[in-house]
Subunit: 470 residues, 2 copies
């Protein structure tokens, strides 16, 4: 996939990478929607791909050409004969070394198509342009603080927001890519040690996995390893434990529609000497726009007025610039809605602090409104995360006859720990305004998307099914 | 000047910085040619500026508005009353904080006008665009390997190729600018020590000055200081001495027309372990294009064919891309000549090595043709520089009845040394093909332009005046 990030655009084609956890139904939907001409398939996913081809219906009457990619050490799915298809390595060997790169005729031409996660019936294909990708690749180098001798460990999937354009950013500085087949703590520590990794990325889930890994799977870091986290605000406790392990954590924020990270919590040297708690609190903020983006602002979604920089007034995070998507493929209506008012509307609710740094409080659909008060589920989750028995938590609204809604916490405990719901509730009441504390606590595994995001809509349905608190 | 790099473009105006060593006649010529509207003058140059205003003739009937800049600790020229003019600091104090930045309507709009050095009767005003400046600023950060905590010492004048766009590059990474009034070894070492400078630039003349400075003026470096050199190939002996002092030297190459550096001798980790002599030889090569430039090539100036990558075939260095000038102001003819064939012609003669790195052998007008053989004056100078008694050297052609031309070396010796011409000639004959060794050696100070470049045309005139060798 790393090679195809270069080969496909250089052939004048458009890169469209699929999430490897999609099932054949989803793949079939996306093949049709994207009008894929050539499908490169790792042999471990050939079964899924072939099942998808069987599901293809008109107008996608011509199925894509299949090219299989095989690796030594990873056995092909036994029942399939990969020799029946084009072989990636054979194609490469037969390539022409003097091939003329096909340049885009216009720098706004599309370079890649990225289907957002969480989509089911209506695929949302986010289009990136050559121009945006160039600027975002450069911005990636600045954001990550990468230099000429960077070795980057891929834990962020390259199919996720086009790999944040880091494939191209690394090429711009001549960095080294380390790709791994699985992303578990042992593989991460082993590869950091083996390749002297300097930089990596990872959602808070990955950070959580690292800090909660068995000591036997860890290895001492060869030097400070810079890790960029995004996708959800990193809980302070996890940040703190990552630092203890020797990682330098940077916090990025964005969406597929902003080519991945659009802001970063740009660290100021004078913050180094602050007390730990204050430092970690600053680091959970989403920060300021990166160099390649024109503007990020927090605005009233109705009046489009900027909110005050007081850390209190809430509004919607909006983006504008060359590294914001060109639009959703074949979906003018969704594109127009997303850009209503001339800015891209993120759907995230945030405040602006006096120093201009933004802090996302919640997804607009996740916010809980209880007795007329907005409750940020992120804030409640942060407190619950700090409880020593808690491994993971997600908070959603539960209907409440009196308050309208009250917080309901889904909690997964660490192995060997046992607490009851009342203890979690009491723990919260001692650390936040009473109205913000959950009234319901449910212990279970959290449902996640293939990119590791908690599927809050499933939890909201569960909370709703519990019935109203009366 | 650093502030004006931002203020002027943000006001929608075009920045045109003058060399501080120009005399009033040159200033008057440039004021007229550039149609300057506002002239910001450091009070130390007010005398020259006022004299220039007195020389202004139609069509420049309306003299520019004068704004004087005063500094504590630098007395104004006594006979002048700076209060008769607008004061820079007062204007700043009266500024509007909510000023709306005037954005260019088109990113190809001009951002700055840069008069090339060495110009006399016909000013050549090189126009830079907003787009080119953005890309070059970014490229500067990559080329210099600058990161978030960079402290840059300005020894490269900001009026020279728009300060290589480093003013903007530093802003992009949030770096620190250290500006000094004088550029002598003591000031350089003192400021590196005081401000913990991490990066700086400097022509080989500056490097020469540093390595030949009295030990009493030096201070130990607080860490490795990265210094970018360009304007002329750095002699290996000077590179070696700079490294001994603790500097990391990178070699850049370009022209005013390529926004300053267009190529860099990008260093490969595997070269670190090579023998010193080989390492320094590699470092004197001009290298490969930077990230913001589309292409650099060495071509036959007639056929426009690329020369072979054999380190031998000579051609003209040519550039193409967004960081090549838009053109010469009010000089369509010179612009068309410069871009004849679709590439910007540098006037420099070079070879391409098998690894694609270019090596400039000479300016096309500097090359010596002796008995039908091309002699690179740079190569002869490099050998003479390695003589322990030599401080500075420049080689030009002297007419020769038999050979057409033969090399003539102008040499400045270090204090306290004394050698004769024959010793220099013998020294060369032992180290290069006999035909390349100078036949004439003259000991004297070298004439330089205000940017430190040796004025070879003056030396050529002197060599010519000596008459032909018969």
């Amino acid at each position: 996939m790393q090679e195809l990030h270069f080969a496909v655009p250089m052939a004048g084609a458009i890169l469209c990478t699929f999430n490897t956890r999609h099932d054949s139904t989803m793949i079939a939907t996306l093949l049709t929607h994207s009008e894929t001409k050539i499908l490169f398939v790792d042999h471990q996913f050939l079964h899924t791909a072939l099942a998808a081809l069987n599901l293809l219906k008109p107008p996608h009457t011509k199925p894509p050409l299949i090219v299989t990619i095989t690796y030594e050490g990873t056995p092909p799915q036994s029942e399939l004969n990969t020799n029946a298809y084009h072989q990636y390595e054979s194609l490469i060997e037969g390539g022409v070394s003097g091939f003329n790169v096909v340049r885009p005729t216009d720098e706004w031409d599309p370079i890649s198509l990225n289907y957002t996660s969480g989509t089911t019936s209506r695929p949302k294909g986010v289009v990136y342009s050559h121009r945006g990708a160039y600027l975002n690749s450069i911005a990636t180098v600045f954001m990550h603080g990468m230099g000429a001798r960077t070795t980057y460990l891929w834990t962020v999937p390259m199919f996720h927001c086009n790999g944040w354009c880091v494939t191209w950013g690394l090429a711009a500085i001549g960095g080294t890519n380390i790709c791994i087949r699985r992303c578990d703590p042992k593989d991460i520590f082993d590869n950091i040690d083996l390749h002297k990794v300097t930089h990596m990325g990872g959602a808070p889930t990955v950070l959580n996995m690292i800090v909660n890994s068995p000591v036997t799977e860890r290895k001492p870091l060869p030097h400070k390893v810079e890790i960029m986290t995004g996708g959800a605000p990193p809980p302070p406790l996890i940040l703190s434990k990552m630092e203890e392990l020797g990682f330098g954590v940077s916090h990025l924020y964005g969406l597929t529609e902003t080519y991945g990270p659009g802001t970063l919590c740009l660290w100021k040297p004078e913050w180094d000497s602050l007390p730990t708690e204050e430092r970690l609190k600053l680091k959970t903020r989403q920060g300021v726009r990166h160099l390649g983006l024109d503007s990020v602002d927090v605005k009233d979604p109705i009046t489009m007025e900027s909110v005050e920089c007081d850390g209190k007034a809430m509004g919607e995070v909006m983006f504008r610039g060359n590294t914001v998507m060109s639009g959703y493929l074949k979906d003018t209506k969704a594109t127009e809605e997303a850009f209503a008012g001339g800015w891209f509307r993120s759907g995230d609710l945030a405040v602006k602090h006096p120093d201009g740094y933004i802090e996302v409080k919640d997804r607009s659909k996740d916010i809980i409104i209880s007795g007329g008060e907005n409750i940020s589920t992120v804030e409640v989750e942060t407190v619950i995360y700090s409880h020593p028995a808690v491994l993971e938590v997600a908070v959603v609204a539960r209907p409440d006859n009196h308050w309208g809604q009250t917080p309901c916490a889904f909690v997964k405990l660490k192995d060997g720990f046992s607490v009851d719901g009342q203890e979690i509730i009491d723990y919260c009441r001692n650390r936040m305004p009473r109205y913000m504390a959950p009234k319901t606590v449910i212990f279970e595994d959290l449902p996640r998307t293939s990119t590791g995001k908690v599927q809050k809509f499933l939890l909201r349905e569960k909370a709703k099914a519990l019935g109203s608190i009366s």
